[in-house]
Amino acid sequence: MVSILADHSDRRPGGAGAVDGIFARILARELSGPPADRVFRAQLRGRVLAAHPVASQGAAGAPGIRTQRLKARRSGVRGPLLGLALVAVLAIALIAGRGVLFPEPLARLGKLPELALEPPSGQGGAAGPGYTFDLTYSLSPQLSAGWPVLPRRAEACRLKPPALSEQHVADLAARLGITAPVVQEGWQDGYLLAADPGDGGPSIRMFPSGYTIYMRPYDYSPVAPSELPSDQKALEIARAWLVSSGFVPEGSLGPGQVDLDPENGMLYVRFKPAAPEPIVSISPFAIVQIGRGETVVMGSATWFLHDASSPYPLRGVAEAWELVENGDGLLEFETREFPGPVGEDNVVRGLATARSVSLGWWLAAPAGEVPYLIPVYVFSGELSVPGGGGTAEYPFQVWAPAVTEAYIQR
Protein backbone atom coordinates (compact mmCIF):
# COMPACT_ATOMS: atom_id res chain seq x y z
CA MET A 1 0.00 0.00 0.00
CA VAL A 2 1.48 3.33 -0.99
CA SER A 3 -0.30 6.32 0.34
CA ILE A 4 0.32 9.95 0.99
CA LEU A 5 -1.90 12.34 2.84
CA ALA A 6 -2.05 15.93 1.77
CA ASP A 7 -0.62 18.29 4.32
CA HIS A 8 -3.03 21.18 4.80
CA SER A 9 -1.57 22.00 8.15
CA ASP A 10 0.94 24.66 8.97
CA ARG A 11 3.25 22.23 10.66
CA ARG A 12 6.67 21.18 9.60
CA PRO A 13 6.94 18.01 7.54
CA GLY A 14 7.62 14.77 9.28
CA GLY A 15 4.78 14.79 11.77
CA ALA A 16 2.23 12.04 12.01
CA GLY A 17 -0.07 11.88 9.04
CA ALA A 18 2.10 13.77 6.59
CA VAL A 19 3.15 10.70 4.66
CA ASP A 20 3.28 7.07 5.59
CA GLY A 21 4.43 3.65 4.53
CA ILE A 22 7.09 2.93 2.00
CA PHE A 23 6.33 6.19 0.23
CA ALA A 24 7.31 8.08 3.38
CA ARG A 25 10.73 6.47 3.37
CA ILE A 26 11.22 7.04 -0.33
CA LEU A 27 10.10 10.64 -0.16
CA ALA A 28 12.28 11.32 2.87
CA ARG A 29 15.30 9.83 1.15
CA GLU A 30 14.78 11.53 -2.19
CA LEU A 31 13.98 14.95 -0.84
CA SER A 32 16.46 15.16 2.00
CA GLY A 33 19.66 16.87 1.03
CA PRO A 34 23.13 16.18 2.36
CA PRO A 35 24.34 18.34 5.26
CA ALA A 36 27.13 20.73 4.49
CA ASP A 37 30.60 19.25 4.47
CA ARG A 38 32.06 19.60 7.97
CA VAL A 39 35.21 21.43 6.90
CA PHE A 40 33.30 23.76 4.60
CA ARG A 41 30.79 24.39 7.35
CA ALA A 42 33.42 25.29 9.94
CA GLN A 43 35.44 27.48 7.61
CA LEU A 44 32.39 29.35 6.37
CA ARG A 45 31.29 29.88 9.96
CA GLY A 46 34.61 31.48 10.80
CA ARG A 47 34.50 33.75 7.76
CA VAL A 48 30.91 34.81 8.37
CA LEU A 49 31.47 35.58 12.03
CA ALA A 50 34.66 37.46 11.26
CA ALA A 51 32.69 39.59 8.80
CA HIS A 52 30.04 40.51 11.36
CA PRO A 53 29.97 44.30 11.70
CA VAL A 54 30.54 44.15 15.42
CA ALA A 55 33.39 41.67 15.12
CA SER A 56 34.95 43.78 12.41
CA GLN A 57 34.79 46.89 14.56
CA GLY A 58 36.41 44.85 17.28
CA ALA A 59 33.64 43.31 19.27
CA ALA A 60 32.18 40.02 20.47
CA GLY A 61 33.21 40.72 23.99
CA ALA A 62 29.78 41.09 25.49
CA PRO A 63 27.08 38.89 24.01
CA GLY A 64 23.72 40.48 23.68
CA ILE A 65 24.81 43.85 24.93
CA ARG A 66 24.04 46.57 22.47
CA THR A 67 24.06 50.28 22.47
CA GLN A 68 22.01 52.94 20.83
CA ARG A 69 21.93 56.68 20.92
CA LEU A 70 18.96 57.68 22.92
CA LYS A 71 15.91 59.57 21.92
CA ALA A 72 14.75 61.00 25.17
CA ARG A 73 11.58 62.57 26.48
CA ARG A 74 11.58 64.48 29.67
CA SER A 75 9.58 63.10 32.51
CA GLY A 76 6.65 65.11 33.71
CA VAL A 77 7.89 64.79 37.27
CA ARG A 78 11.49 65.47 36.46
CA GLY A 79 11.59 69.14 37.38
CA PRO A 80 11.08 68.96 41.13
CA LEU A 81 13.22 65.85 41.44
CA LEU A 82 16.03 67.35 39.44
CA GLY A 83 15.79 70.49 41.52
CA LEU A 84 16.40 68.44 44.64
CA ALA A 85 19.16 66.56 42.92
CA LEU A 86 20.89 69.73 41.82
CA VAL A 87 20.82 71.07 45.34
CA ALA A 88 22.24 67.81 46.59
CA VAL A 89 25.00 67.64 44.02
CA LEU A 90 26.01 71.23 44.60
CA ALA A 91 26.37 70.47 48.28
CA ILE A 92 28.37 67.36 47.55
CA ALA A 93 30.53 69.21 45.05
CA LEU A 94 31.32 71.91 47.59
CA ILE A 95 32.26 69.37 50.21
CA ALA A 96 34.20 67.12 47.87
CA GLY A 97 36.00 70.04 46.24
CA ARG A 98 37.14 71.74 49.42
CA GLY A 99 40.85 71.46 49.92
CA VAL A 100 41.38 69.02 47.05
CA LEU A 101 44.77 69.45 45.44
CA PHE A 102 45.61 68.45 41.92
CA PRO A 103 49.33 67.84 41.95
CA GLU A 104 49.28 66.54 38.39
CA PRO A 105 48.46 68.96 35.59
CA LEU A 106 44.93 68.42 34.34
CA ALA A 107 43.89 67.64 30.80
CA ARG A 108 47.40 67.24 29.42
CA LEU A 109 46.07 65.31 26.44
CA GLY A 110 43.96 68.22 25.21
CA LYS A 111 40.37 67.87 24.09
CA LEU A 112 38.91 64.37 24.04
CA PRO A 113 36.60 62.79 21.46
CA GLU A 114 32.92 62.92 22.26
CA LEU A 115 30.98 59.85 23.33
CA ALA A 116 29.74 58.34 20.10
CA LEU A 117 28.42 55.06 18.83
CA GLU A 118 29.94 55.31 15.38
CA PRO A 119 32.52 52.61 14.73
CA PRO A 120 36.09 53.33 13.72
CA SER A 121 37.02 54.31 10.20
CA GLY A 122 35.80 52.17 7.39
CA GLN A 123 34.29 49.52 9.57
CA GLY A 124 30.66 50.14 8.70
CA GLY A 125 27.63 49.16 10.69
CA ALA A 126 26.52 50.33 14.09
CA ALA A 127 25.70 48.04 16.93
CA GLY A 128 22.07 49.06 17.20
CA PRO A 129 19.27 46.59 17.66
CA GLY A 130 17.29 47.74 14.62
CA TYR A 131 14.71 49.83 16.46
CA THR A 132 14.71 53.13 18.30
CA PHE A 133 13.73 54.29 21.77
CA ASP A 134 11.49 57.03 23.01
CA LEU A 135 11.91 56.80 26.76
CA THR A 136 10.83 58.78 29.74
CA TYR A 137 13.52 58.99 32.41
CA SER A 138 13.16 59.10 36.13
CA LEU A 139 15.32 58.63 39.18
CA SER A 140 14.78 56.20 42.02
CA PRO A 141 13.77 57.86 45.31
CA GLN A 142 17.28 57.28 46.59
CA LEU A 143 18.95 59.07 43.69
CA SER A 144 16.29 61.76 43.76
CA ALA A 145 17.22 62.48 47.35
CA GLY A 146 20.86 62.97 46.48
CA TRP A 147 23.65 61.80 44.19
CA PRO A 148 26.39 59.62 45.63
CA VAL A 149 29.83 61.07 46.13
CA LEU A 150 31.93 60.36 43.07
CA PRO A 151 35.44 61.47 42.09
CA ARG A 152 35.81 65.02 40.78
CA ARG A 153 38.37 63.92 38.24
CA ALA A 154 39.33 60.78 36.39
CA GLU A 155 42.03 59.70 34.00
CA ALA A 156 41.62 59.60 30.27
CA CYS A 157 43.99 57.32 28.36
CA ARG A 158 45.40 57.92 24.91
CA LEU A 159 45.93 54.65 23.06
CA LYS A 160 48.02 53.43 20.19
CA PRO A 161 46.18 51.11 17.82
CA PRO A 162 48.10 48.13 16.47
CA ALA A 163 49.62 48.85 13.09
CA LEU A 164 47.89 47.36 10.08
CA SER A 165 51.17 46.38 8.48
CA GLU A 166 52.34 43.32 6.65
CA GLN A 167 55.30 43.06 8.99
CA HIS A 168 53.07 43.05 12.07
CA VAL A 169 50.76 40.37 10.66
CA ALA A 170 53.75 38.34 9.48
CA ASP A 171 55.19 38.50 13.01
CA LEU A 172 51.92 37.28 14.50
CA ALA A 173 51.68 34.54 11.88
CA ALA A 174 55.22 33.40 12.56
CA ARG A 175 54.53 33.15 16.29
CA LEU A 176 51.53 30.98 15.50
CA GLY A 177 53.39 28.75 13.07
CA ILE A 178 51.52 30.03 10.01
CA THR A 179 53.86 30.02 7.05
CA ALA A 180 51.50 31.42 4.41
CA PRO A 181 52.53 34.83 3.03
CA VAL A 182 50.67 37.94 4.15
CA VAL A 183 48.36 39.23 1.44
CA GLN A 184 45.77 41.98 1.14
CA GLU A 185 42.12 40.98 0.92
CA GLY A 186 39.41 43.45 -0.06
CA TRP A 187 37.44 44.66 2.91
CA GLN A 188 34.68 47.24 2.66
CA ASP A 189 36.33 50.43 1.35
CA GLY A 190 39.87 49.18 1.88
CA TYR A 191 41.61 45.96 2.69
CA LEU A 192 42.57 43.65 5.50
CA LEU A 193 45.73 41.61 5.83
CA ALA A 194 45.61 37.83 5.88
CA ALA A 195 48.00 34.94 6.22
CA ASP A 196 45.89 32.00 5.12
CA PRO A 197 47.28 28.85 3.51
CA GLY A 198 43.90 28.29 1.87
CA ASP A 199 43.96 24.57 2.63
CA GLY A 200 41.84 24.73 5.75
CA GLY A 201 44.84 25.08 8.01
CA PRO A 202 45.36 27.78 10.67
CA SER A 203 45.01 31.34 9.42
CA ILE A 204 45.15 34.88 10.75
CA ARG A 205 43.46 38.08 9.62
CA MET A 206 43.85 41.65 10.76
CA PHE A 207 41.16 44.22 10.00
CA PRO A 208 41.64 47.96 9.59
CA SER A 209 40.16 48.60 13.06
CA GLY A 210 42.91 46.47 14.58
CA TYR A 211 40.58 43.54 15.15
CA THR A 212 42.70 40.43 14.67
CA ILE A 213 41.45 36.87 14.49
CA TYR A 214 43.23 33.52 14.42
CA MET A 215 41.30 30.43 13.36
CA ARG A 216 42.13 26.80 12.99
CA PRO A 217 40.01 23.81 11.90
CA TYR A 218 37.99 22.23 14.66
CA ASP A 219 35.21 19.73 15.10
CA TYR A 220 32.39 21.97 16.33
CA SER A 221 30.35 19.09 17.70
CA PRO A 222 28.86 18.86 21.19
CA VAL A 223 31.17 17.87 24.00
CA ALA A 224 30.80 16.92 27.65
CA PRO A 225 32.08 19.72 29.90
CA SER A 226 34.43 17.21 31.51
CA GLU A 227 36.30 16.96 28.20
CA LEU A 228 37.18 20.64 28.38
CA PRO A 229 39.74 22.24 30.70
CA SER A 230 38.73 23.65 34.08
CA ASP A 231 38.10 27.38 34.35
CA GLN A 232 41.42 27.94 36.04
CA LYS A 233 43.27 25.94 33.40
CA ALA A 234 41.38 27.70 30.62
CA LEU A 235 42.40 31.09 32.01
CA GLU A 236 46.03 29.97 32.14
CA ILE A 237 45.93 28.65 28.59
CA ALA A 238 44.22 31.74 27.26
CA ARG A 239 46.59 34.17 28.98
CA ALA A 240 49.64 32.29 27.80
CA TRP A 241 48.31 32.06 24.24
CA LEU A 242 47.40 35.74 23.98
CA VAL A 243 50.84 36.83 25.16
CA SER A 244 52.90 34.26 23.26
CA SER A 245 50.98 34.92 20.05
CA GLY A 246 51.64 38.65 20.34
CA PHE A 247 47.95 39.54 20.47
CA VAL A 248 48.36 41.42 23.77
CA PRO A 249 51.39 42.67 25.73
CA GLU A 250 52.32 40.85 28.90
CA GLY A 251 50.77 42.22 32.07
CA SER A 252 47.92 44.06 30.38
CA LEU A 253 45.11 41.50 30.80
CA GLY A 254 42.38 41.87 33.41
CA PRO A 255 40.96 38.97 35.44
CA GLY A 256 39.13 37.12 32.64
CA GLN A 257 35.81 35.31 32.45
CA VAL A 258 35.15 31.75 31.30
CA ASP A 259 31.92 30.69 29.55
CA LEU A 260 31.09 27.13 28.57
CA ASP A 261 29.66 26.37 25.13
CA PRO A 262 29.25 22.58 25.13
CA GLU A 263 27.06 22.58 22.00
CA ASN A 264 30.01 23.79 19.96
CA GLY A 265 32.52 21.84 22.01
CA MET A 266 34.46 24.74 23.47
CA LEU A 267 35.08 27.32 26.17
CA TYR A 268 35.16 31.09 25.68
CA VAL A 269 37.67 32.99 27.76
CA ARG A 270 37.11 36.76 27.65
CA PHE A 271 39.41 39.51 28.84
CA LYS A 272 39.35 43.23 29.24
CA PRO A 273 42.42 45.35 30.02
CA ALA A 274 43.53 45.38 33.64
CA ALA A 275 43.13 49.17 33.78
CA PRO A 276 41.20 51.40 33.72
CA GLU A 277 38.36 49.49 35.22
CA PRO A 278 35.54 49.00 34.40
CA ILE A 279 35.60 49.49 30.64
CA VAL A 280 31.97 49.58 29.50
CA SER A 281 32.56 49.70 25.75
CA ILE A 282 32.87 46.45 23.81
CA SER A 283 36.47 47.15 22.84
CA PRO A 284 39.21 46.69 23.87
CA PHE A 285 38.72 42.98 24.34
CA ALA A 286 40.42 39.63 23.80
CA ILE A 287 38.69 36.27 23.45
CA VAL A 288 40.24 32.82 23.28
CA GLN A 289 38.13 29.80 22.36
CA ILE A 290 39.49 26.56 23.72
CA GLY A 291 38.31 23.15 22.60
CA ARG A 292 39.04 19.52 23.30
CA GLY A 293 42.60 18.65 24.17
CA GLU A 294 43.19 22.20 25.40
CA THR A 295 43.39 23.31 21.78
CA VAL A 296 43.08 27.01 21.04
CA VAL A 297 40.47 26.93 18.29
CA MET A 298 40.13 30.64 17.77
CA GLY A 299 41.68 33.75 19.23
CA SER A 300 40.53 37.28 18.57
CA ALA A 301 41.28 40.68 19.97
CA THR A 302 41.01 44.37 19.50
CA TRP A 303 43.73 45.55 21.80
CA PHE A 304 45.61 48.81 22.11
CA LEU A 305 48.91 49.87 23.56
CA HIS A 306 48.86 52.51 26.28
CA ASP A 307 50.35 55.79 25.08
CA ALA A 308 49.66 58.42 27.74
CA SER A 309 47.21 59.28 30.51
CA SER A 310 46.10 62.42 32.24
CA PRO A 311 43.46 63.33 34.82
CA TYR A 312 40.52 65.40 33.61
CA PRO A 313 37.98 67.40 35.59
CA LEU A 314 34.52 65.84 35.57
CA ARG A 315 31.16 67.49 35.20
CA GLY A 316 28.66 66.93 37.98
CA VAL A 317 26.42 63.87 37.94
CA ALA A 318 23.31 66.03 37.71
CA GLU A 319 24.62 67.67 34.57
CA ALA A 320 25.37 64.25 33.11
CA TRP A 321 21.86 63.07 33.96
CA GLU A 322 20.45 66.08 32.19
CA LEU A 323 22.43 65.06 29.11
CA VAL A 324 20.79 61.64 29.34
CA GLU A 325 17.36 63.20 29.51
CA ASN A 326 18.19 65.26 26.45
CA GLY A 327 19.19 62.19 24.49
CA ASP A 328 22.95 62.75 24.60
CA GLY A 329 23.82 59.37 26.07
CA LEU A 330 24.24 55.77 25.04
CA LEU A 331 21.84 53.08 26.17
CA GLU A 332 22.89 49.51 26.88
CA PHE A 333 20.47 46.68 27.44
CA GLU A 334 20.26 42.91 27.12
CA THR A 335 18.61 42.08 23.80
CA ARG A 336 18.29 38.38 24.60
CA GLU A 337 15.44 39.06 27.00
CA PHE A 338 14.06 42.17 25.36
CA PRO A 339 10.85 41.82 23.34
CA GLY A 340 11.48 44.79 21.03
CA PRO A 341 8.89 47.31 19.94
CA VAL A 342 5.22 46.41 20.23
CA GLY A 343 3.87 49.05 17.83
CA GLU A 344 4.00 49.40 14.08
CA ASP A 345 6.46 52.30 14.15
CA ASN A 346 9.40 50.24 15.44
CA VAL A 347 9.84 52.49 18.46
CA VAL A 348 10.17 51.20 22.02
CA ARG A 349 8.39 53.42 24.52
CA GLY A 350 8.76 53.05 28.23
CA LEU A 351 10.04 54.37 31.50
CA ALA A 352 13.74 54.13 32.40
CA THR A 353 14.36 54.45 36.12
CA ALA A 354 17.97 54.93 37.21
CA ARG A 355 18.83 53.44 40.60
CA SER A 356 22.61 53.85 40.75
CA VAL A 357 25.43 55.77 39.14
CA SER A 358 29.14 55.05 38.92
CA LEU A 359 32.17 55.82 36.77
CA GLY A 360 33.34 53.70 33.86
CA TRP A 361 35.46 54.06 30.71
CA TRP A 362 34.40 54.07 27.09
CA LEU A 363 36.52 53.61 23.97
CA ALA A 364 36.16 56.76 21.88
CA ALA A 365 37.72 56.04 18.51
CA PRO A 366 36.58 58.53 15.87
CA ALA A 367 37.25 57.61 12.26
CA GLY A 368 40.89 57.96 11.41
CA GLU A 369 41.80 59.61 14.71
CA VAL A 370 43.63 58.61 17.85
CA PRO A 371 41.57 56.35 20.16
CA TYR A 372 41.03 57.27 23.80
CA LEU A 373 39.49 55.62 26.82
CA ILE A 374 37.35 58.38 28.27
CA PRO A 375 35.52 58.44 31.61
CA VAL A 376 31.73 58.17 31.50
CA TYR A 377 28.98 58.17 34.07
CA VAL A 378 27.16 54.85 34.11
CA PHE A 379 23.52 55.10 35.22
CA SER A 380 21.95 51.69 35.94
CA GLY A 381 18.35 50.73 36.58
CA GLU A 382 15.26 49.15 35.09
CA LEU A 383 13.57 49.79 31.80
CA SER A 384 9.78 49.27 32.03
CA VAL A 385 8.13 48.60 28.71
CA PRO A 386 4.73 47.23 27.73
CA GLY A 387 4.63 43.65 26.54
CA GLY A 388 2.93 40.34 27.12
CA GLY A 389 -0.29 41.99 28.25
CA GLY A 390 1.41 43.93 31.02
CA THR A 391 4.58 45.80 31.78
CA ALA A 392 7.91 44.02 31.96
CA GLU A 393 11.14 45.28 33.43
CA TYR A 394 14.62 44.84 31.98
CA PRO A 395 17.96 45.96 33.34
CA PHE A 396 19.61 48.81 31.46
CA GLN A 397 22.58 51.10 31.65
CA VAL A 398 22.96 54.48 30.08
CA TRP A 399 26.30 56.21 29.68
CA ALA A 400 26.90 59.94 29.61
CA PRO A 401 30.14 61.86 29.05
CA ALA A 402 31.80 62.60 32.37
CA VAL A 403 34.57 65.00 31.36
CA THR A 404 33.64 68.68 31.59
CA GLU A 405 32.32 70.16 28.38
CA ALA A 406 35.40 72.38 27.92
CA TYR A 407 37.54 69.31 27.21
CA ILE A 408 35.30 67.59 24.68
CA GLN A 409 35.65 68.07 20.95
CA ARG A 410 32.29 69.06 19.51
Binding site: I4, L31, A59, A60, N264
Partner: protein, 193 residues
Protein backbone atom coordinates in the same frame (compact mmCIF):
# COMPACT_ATOMS: atom_id res chain seq x y z
CA UNK B 1 21.84 24.81 20.41
CA UNK B 2 22.23 21.44 18.80
CA UNK B 3 21.36 21.28 15.14
CA UNK B 4 19.04 18.38 15.88
CA UNK B 5 16.83 20.80 17.79
CA UNK B 6 16.44 23.22 14.96
CA UNK B 7 12.76 22.59 14.37
CA UNK B 8 11.80 23.68 17.85
CA UNK B 9 11.43 27.39 17.37
CA UNK B 10 9.19 27.79 20.35
CA UNK B 11 11.84 26.51 22.70
CA UNK B 12 14.57 28.44 21.05
CA UNK B 13 12.79 31.76 20.68
CA UNK B 14 14.20 32.59 17.33
CA UNK B 15 12.99 36.12 17.25
CA UNK B 16 15.03 37.14 20.25
CA UNK B 17 18.03 35.36 18.86
CA UNK B 18 17.75 37.28 15.61
CA UNK B 19 17.52 40.57 17.47
CA UNK B 20 20.59 39.64 19.41
CA UNK B 21 22.45 38.60 16.27
CA UNK B 22 22.23 42.10 14.86
CA UNK B 23 24.97 43.17 17.21
CA UNK B 24 26.55 39.96 18.37
CA UNK B 25 28.68 37.71 16.15
CA UNK B 26 28.24 34.76 18.48
CA UNK B 27 24.48 35.07 18.30
CA UNK B 28 24.71 35.14 14.53
CA UNK B 29 26.82 32.01 14.84
CA UNK B 30 23.91 30.28 16.54
CA UNK B 31 21.64 31.21 13.63
CA UNK B 32 24.31 30.01 11.24
CA UNK B 33 24.48 26.63 13.01
CA UNK B 34 20.72 26.43 12.97
CA UNK B 35 20.26 26.98 9.27
CA UNK B 36 23.43 26.17 7.36
CA UNK B 37 22.69 22.49 6.78
CA UNK B 38 19.11 23.15 5.72
CA UNK B 39 20.22 25.89 3.33
CA UNK B 40 22.89 23.60 1.94
CA UNK B 41 20.47 20.72 1.54
CA UNK B 42 17.95 22.89 -0.26
CA UNK B 43 20.59 24.36 -2.56
CA UNK B 44 21.99 20.91 -3.28
CA UNK B 45 18.60 19.53 -4.30
CA UNK B 46 17.86 22.66 -6.28
CA UNK B 47 21.17 22.87 -8.11
CA UNK B 48 22.37 19.29 -8.13
CA UNK B 49 25.99 19.77 -7.14
CA UNK B 50 27.85 20.15 -3.90
CA UNK B 51 30.15 22.81 -5.30
CA UNK B 52 27.31 25.03 -6.37
CA UNK B 53 25.39 24.35 -3.17
CA UNK B 54 28.40 25.45 -1.14
CA UNK B 55 28.83 28.60 -3.21
CA UNK B 56 25.19 29.55 -2.82
CA UNK B 57 25.14 28.65 0.87
CA UNK B 58 28.16 30.87 1.49
CA UNK B 59 26.62 33.72 -0.49
CA UNK B 60 23.32 33.30 1.35
CA UNK B 61 24.99 33.61 4.72
CA UNK B 62 27.04 36.62 3.60
CA UNK B 63 23.93 38.39 2.31
CA UNK B 64 21.99 37.52 5.43
CA UNK B 65 24.71 39.04 7.57
CA UNK B 66 24.83 42.16 5.43
CA UNK B 67 21.05 42.47 5.38
CA UNK B 68 20.36 41.71 9.02
CA UNK B 69 20.27 45.38 10.11
CA UNK B 70 17.45 45.95 7.61
CA UNK B 71 15.57 42.74 8.41
CA UNK B 72 12.13 43.27 9.91
CA UNK B 73 10.17 40.45 11.46
CA UNK B 74 7.22 39.82 9.21
CA UNK B 75 5.07 36.83 8.32
CA UNK B 76 7.27 33.80 7.91
CA UNK B 77 9.95 35.26 10.14
CA UNK B 78 13.68 34.82 9.81
CA UNK B 79 13.58 31.39 8.18
CA UNK B 80 11.44 32.61 5.31
CA UNK B 81 13.68 35.63 4.84
CA UNK B 82 16.83 33.49 4.81
CA UNK B 83 15.40 30.93 2.42
CA UNK B 84 14.13 33.70 0.15
CA UNK B 85 17.75 34.81 -0.23
CA UNK B 86 18.84 31.23 -0.95
CA UNK B 87 15.93 30.67 -3.30
CA UNK B 88 16.70 33.79 -5.33
CA UNK B 89 20.36 32.87 -5.55
CA UNK B 90 19.40 29.40 -6.75
CA UNK B 91 17.11 30.92 -9.36
CA UNK B 92 19.98 33.12 -10.55
CA UNK B 93 22.23 30.09 -10.78
CA UNK B 94 19.59 28.11 -12.64
CA UNK B 95 19.15 30.91 -15.12
CA UNK B 96 22.76 30.47 -16.10
CA UNK B 97 22.37 26.92 -17.20
CA UNK B 98 19.80 24.38 -18.16
CA UNK B 99 18.65 22.42 -15.17
CA UNK B 100 20.77 19.33 -15.10
CA UNK B 101 18.57 17.48 -12.66
CA UNK B 102 18.41 18.01 -8.93
CA UNK B 103 19.08 14.41 -7.99
CA UNK B 104 22.66 13.56 -8.87
CA UNK B 105 23.40 9.92 -8.43
CA UNK B 106 25.73 9.27 -5.60
CA UNK B 107 26.51 6.20 -3.59
CA UNK B 108 24.51 7.20 -0.55
CA UNK B 109 21.39 7.91 -2.54
CA UNK B 110 21.21 4.37 -3.83
CA UNK B 111 21.89 2.50 -0.63
CA UNK B 112 18.99 0.30 0.43
CA UNK B 113 17.24 1.03 3.69
CA UNK B 114 18.38 -1.20 6.50
CA UNK B 115 15.76 -3.67 7.62
CA UNK B 116 13.86 -3.83 4.35
CA UNK B 117 13.09 -7.19 2.81
CA UNK B 118 14.55 -7.89 -0.66
CA UNK B 119 11.06 -7.36 -2.06
CA UNK B 120 10.80 -4.04 -0.30
CA UNK B 121 14.25 -3.07 -1.53
CA UNK B 122 13.36 -3.88 -5.09
CA UNK B 123 10.09 -2.06 -4.77
CA UNK B 124 11.75 0.91 -3.15
CA UNK B 125 14.47 1.14 -5.78
CA UNK B 126 11.89 1.05 -8.50
CA UNK B 127 9.72 3.55 -6.69
CA UNK B 128 12.67 5.87 -6.13
CA UNK B 129 13.58 5.85 -9.78
CA UNK B 130 10.03 6.63 -10.69
CA UNK B 131 9.72 9.32 -8.05
CA UNK B 132 12.92 10.97 -9.23
CA UNK B 133 11.62 11.02 -12.75
CA UNK B 134 8.33 12.51 -11.60
CA UNK B 135 9.98 15.12 -9.40
CA UNK B 136 12.36 16.13 -12.17
CA UNK B 137 9.40 16.56 -14.48
CA UNK B 138 7.49 18.79 -12.08
CA UNK B 139 6.99 22.42 -13.11
CA UNK B 140 9.68 24.48 -11.48
CA UNK B 141 7.42 26.36 -9.07
CA UNK B 142 5.91 23.08 -7.83
CA UNK B 143 9.30 21.49 -7.36
CA UNK B 144 10.51 24.53 -5.49
CA UNK B 145 7.60 24.43 -3.04
CA UNK B 146 8.04 20.70 -2.47
CA UNK B 147 11.72 21.21 -1.74
CA UNK B 148 11.03 24.11 0.61
CA UNK B 149 8.58 21.88 2.46
CA UNK B 150 10.38 18.53 2.53
CA UNK B 151 14.04 19.45 2.12
CA UNK B 152 14.22 22.80 3.85
CA UNK B 153 11.59 21.84 6.43
CA UNK B 154 9.66 25.09 6.23
CA UNK B 155 6.11 25.60 7.40
CA UNK B 156 3.49 26.55 4.84
CA UNK B 157 3.40 30.11 6.17
CA UNK B 158 7.18 30.31 5.79
CA UNK B 159 7.02 28.96 2.25
CA UNK B 160 4.34 31.51 1.46
CA UNK B 161 6.48 34.37 2.74
CA UNK B 162 9.50 32.98 0.93
CA UNK B 163 7.83 32.58 -2.45
CA UNK B 164 5.27 35.37 -2.39
CA UNK B 165 2.35 32.94 -2.53
CA UNK B 166 -0.49 32.88 -0.02
CA UNK B 167 -0.45 30.13 2.62
CA UNK B 168 -3.64 28.75 1.13
CA UNK B 169 -2.05 28.60 -2.29
CA UNK B 170 0.96 26.80 -0.84
CA UNK B 171 -1.24 24.27 0.90
CA UNK B 172 -3.29 23.73 -2.20
CA UNK B 173 -0.25 23.37 -4.44
CA UNK B 174 1.34 20.88 -2.07
CA UNK B 175 -1.88 18.89 -1.92
CA UNK B 176 -2.22 18.72 -5.69
CA UNK B 177 1.43 17.92 -6.23
CA UNK B 178 1.64 15.16 -3.65
CA UNK B 179 -1.72 13.74 -4.74
CA UNK B 180 -0.45 13.55 -8.28
CA UNK B 181 2.77 11.92 -7.18
CA UNK B 182 0.88 9.42 -5.11
CA UNK B 183 -1.48 8.50 -7.91
CA UNK B 184 1.24 8.16 -10.50
CA UNK B 185 3.48 6.21 -8.22
CA UNK B 186 0.58 3.98 -7.26
CA UNK B 187 -0.14 3.30 -10.91
CA UNK B 188 3.47 2.51 -11.51
CA UNK B 189 3.69 0.14 -8.57
CA UNK B 190 0.55 -1.61 -9.69
CA UNK B 191 -2.67 -1.13 -7.84
CA UNK B 192 -5.00 1.52 -6.58
CA UNK B 193 -3.78 3.58 -3.66
Amino acid sequence: MAVSELADEQAFDLRRQVDRARGDPEAFGVLYDLYVDRIHAFCFRRLGSRAEAEDVTAETMARALAGLPRFRWRAGGFGAWLFRIARNLCLDALKDRARSGPWPRDAAADLPDAGESPEDQALAAEARRELRAMLTALPDHQLEVVLLKYTAGLRNTEIAACTGMTPTAVSSLLYRTLQKLRERLGEHLGGPQ
